[in-house]
């Protein structure tokens, strides 16, 4: 698996993968498991995925970002059981200058959340377990331009 990982994420290795002497700007995003959801205390999360499609969709997203901005992007999403504070998703985008690095990083994390078939089940402090349903976001087909506009990049 290139984009999905059963092991703890290492943002440093993503940064190393995209870094180069001509790329003086590296923007990173790290999403971690938060200890609450809609006012309820969360203990842990289980991430699962439709692995072959998730890999294909991540490949498409990174390709779209690298075609739109002069940037190199690395992306990894964690699968399995995670505790509060664990890194769930990591993005590193490197470019000559910061505008492209920030834009590519923002685009990749937002499109990943929207399009990649990954699901999470939250274990709450009160003992209940529920699938998370962010709802509302329907990945209807749209152009990279429209997606980039939506994220303001």
């Amino acid at each position: 698996m290139a984009y999905l990982s059963e092991r703890p994420l290492d943002l440093g290795s993503l940064v190393a993968r995209v870094s180069a002497p001509e790329r003086g700007a590296v923007a990173c995003f790290l999403g971690t498991v938060r200890n609450h959801h809609q006012g309820r205390a969360v203990i842990s999360l289980d991430y699962s995925a439709y692995v072959p499609m998730a890999e294909a969709e991540c490949t498409r997203i990174v390709g779209e970002a690298e075609a739109r901005w002069p940037a190199r992007v690395a992306l990894e999403h964690r699968l399995g059981s995670l505790r509060v504070g664990d890194a769930a998703v990591a993005v590193a985008a490197a470019a000559s200058h910061r505008d492209a690095a920030f834009a590519a990083c923002r685009f990749v994390i937002e499109e990943t959340k929207r399009r990649v078939p990954i699901w999470k089940r939250e274990h709450f402090a009160d003992g209940t377990v529920e699938w998370v349903d962010p709802t509302g976001t329907h990945p209807a087909e749209r152009s990279v331009d429209v997606a980039a506009d939506e994220w303001g990049v």
């Binding site: 991430y47 994390i109 699901w119 699938w131 998370v132 349903d133």
Partner: protein, 88 residues
């Protein structure tokens, strides 16, 4: 001799997360009358026990890419029914 399309299309259907729980399975084979679409798969799933718990228009993918309700299906296609995504 005329060559006609086969009258049926058999596809592999994958269910995930809350939808797999609702229907009590993660995969099944469905044989549909040709020409078949994603919508036809959903109609068949709704007729199964637990199928009434699927939303009106769930996200679907055909052969690893997001699809539409009217996306046509061919023999051997893999149709996935995807609950709201929750990555990140």
């Amino acid at each position: 001799m005329s060559v006609s399309a086969p009258p049926n299309v058999t596809v592999r259907v994958l269910l995930f997360a809350s939808y797999a729980e609702a229907l009590g399975r993660e995969a099944l084979s469905l044989t549909l009358a040709a020409p078949a679409t994603v919508q036809a798969v959903l109609a068949r799933l709704r007729a199964l026990p637990g199928g009434e718990r699927l939303p009106a228009q769930p996200l679907c993918a055909v052969n690893l890419a997001h699809s539409r309700p009217d996306t046509p299906l061919a023999e051997g296609d893999e149709v996935a029914v995807l609950p709201p995504m929750a990555g990140g």
